[in-house]
């Protein structure tokens, strides 16, 4: 009795969800901003604390680890700065996804909203945070006089592909963690672990080339989309290929998950 509706109904609803989510970007953008304002209301510095926090972390880890890893601070600290900026955004999106629909339970139970709108709202939230955190990164690059070329502009399309990937990851994590509450814990631990297993606080040149921690690490490729043009001044062709492949497969997978399970989501809250 559950599956007596034709599949194309499920497809149509999932398509509506995806399209409406994107069409109403102004609305979800506003709510993303509203979420940030709510978070930092009645605090004096507000989100600037995030920028401060990142700056302190970069200096703290940077100075210490450049000694541990025997890499010159001049090179390591700018590397760390851009890596941490990107990783903080990515891990925050993933961790927030584990309770994304739960925090929107009130809305979901009261009115018809596209589930993808919550994903977009989360992306906007984290983009705003990342925008605040760019400041310490820029300061680091200026301070160390890091050589920048025009190739750095290729980071922009790279960032767009990175965000597109975060969209489907956020969607699928949200759905799975809504159904199986334990998976949220697993995702959080996996994200913490990934920080160490991915070249973020260590440089890729320090392990033998072709190691699986780099080659088969999707986080590495996603970060390289933006990091390579900015830090290394080179175009990461291989990472682009991998990232677009991940994007296509990931979008298809999350679309299929949405089509199959969208009708059940409200019962899982």
């Amino acid at each position: 009795m559950q599956e007596s509706l034709p599949v194309d109904t499920h497809l149509r609803v999932a398509l509506w969800d995806f399209v409406q989510g994107i069409l109403n970007w102004r609305l979800w953008g506003f709510f993303g901003l509203h979420d940030i304002r709510q978070r930092y209301r009645r605090s004096s510095f507000g989100p600037l604390w995030l920028a401060l926090g990142l700056g302190v972390t970069i200096l703290g880890i940077g100075i210490l680890y450049s000694q541990i890893l025997h890499v010159d601070g001049q090179i390591f600290i700018p590397f760390l700065a851009i890596s941490l900026l990107l990783w903080n955004m990515m891990s925050s999106i993933i961790v927030e996804s584990t309770t994304l629909f739960l925090s929107g339970a009130n809305v979901i139970n009261s009115t018809r909203v596209p589930y993808t709108s919550f994903v977009l709202r989360g992306l906007v939230r984290n983009l705003i945070v990342a925008a605040h955190c760019i400041a310490p990164v820029i300061l680091v690059y200026i301070f160390y006089r890091h050589p920048m070329t025009w190739i750095a502009l290729l980071a922009i399309p790279g960032f767009i592909i990175l965000l597109a990937n975060m969209y489907w990851i956020s969607l699928i994590v949200s759905i799975i963690c809504l159904r199986f509450r334990d998976v949220g814990q697993i995702v959080i631990y996996a994200t913490q672990l990934a920080l160490f297993l991915t070249p973020i606080i260590w440089m890729p040149t320090q392990v033998r080339s072709g190691t699986p921690y780099i080659q088969y690490n999707p986080a590495y490729h996603l970060i390289s989309l933006v990091r390579d043009p900015v830090f290394y001044g080179r175009f990461p062709a291989q990472s682009w290929v991998v990232s677009i492949l991940i994007l296509v497969v990931g979008m298809a997978l999350s679309a299929a998950t949405l089509v199959r399970f969208r009708r059940h989501l409200i019962f899982w809250i």
Partner: protein
């Protein structure tokens, strides 16, 4: 505008661990839908069973029935919050679901800013909200409190604010779960008039209510639901008589 419901059924799954033990005994009860287990061993509540009716332009339909009959569930299904398990719902017209009037309230910002928030959650654009801003503030009648944070309001004042926003816009198809009571006696008289105007602006209204007085005042038709089934659908007075007859015989 029209709403066509055909063979609508809705099963709500129960994921609670102790639902397993309920499987051993299917208890007929006077509230709620019927419980049963499907082949894969999940317990379901059949909240709505095979509903068929049509609502035409200009009709205002009340959903009446005992507790747990499926009134709110039907409203949610019409709103698109629940996907039917079987059957179809065809709605021509834009649906405005006023099921939870306080949806979107942020108690730490001012009443004025909350008007924007409440409007945005109803899918309204900034320009549309601003066009109606003065009218909303006048209706809410909160004086200078409109520019103070909502957490300084009493519950009644909050109710007036949400009521003013919810009734400010012209809906095509309006779905309401009964919440029309808010505020002190001075406000109630005003609210009554405003509700009347608002309801008449809607092309179609579906309202769940326990108050037969409200039903008689605002509604043209009634749907009498009990245990997930549609027992009667027709002009308000007829169906109300049937409902009252059932209540008095203790059915």
């Amino acid at each position: 505008m029209s709403i066509e419901v055909n063979g609508l059924s809705l099963d709500l799954p129960i994921y609670a661990a102790n639902a397993r033990s309920l499987r051993k005994k299917i208890i007929p009860t006077s509230v709620g839908g019927s419980l049963f287990a499907n082949a894969s061993d999940t317990i379901f509540v059949r909240a709505l069973q095979d509903l068929t009716f049509t609502i035409r332009d200009g009709e205002r339909v009340a959903l009446i029935g005992p507790n747990g009959a499926g009134k709110t569930t039907l409203l949610k299904a019409l709103a698109g919050i629940y996907t039917p398990s079987a059957g179809t719902i065809s709605i021509r017209g834009e649906v405005s679901a006023a099921l939870n009037a306080a949806l979107g309230i942020d108690s730490e910002v001012t009443g004025r800013e909350n008007i924007y928030l409440l409007g945005y959650y109803r899918g309204l654009s900034k320009s549309r909200i601003e066009a109606n801003m003065e009218e909303i503030i006048a209706t809410a009648d909160l004086g200078h409190f409109i520019d103070l944070p909502v957490n300084t309001y009493s519950a009644g004042m909050q109710g007036r604010l949400t009521f003013a926003v919810a009734t400010a816009f012209d809906p095509d198809v309006l779905l309401m779960d009964e919440w029309l009571s808010a505020g002190d006696s001075a406000f109630v008289a005003k609210a009554h008039e405003r509700t009347k105007q608002f309801v008449e602006k809607a092309r179609i209204m579906v309202l769940a209510s326990h108050s037969l007085a409200i039903v008689r005042e605002f509604c043209t038709h009634c749907a009498y639901l009990s245990r997930g089934r549609l027992l009667a659908y027709g002009p308000a007075e007829e169906v109300i008589k049937r409902y009252e007859a059932d209540v008095s015989t203790g059915a």
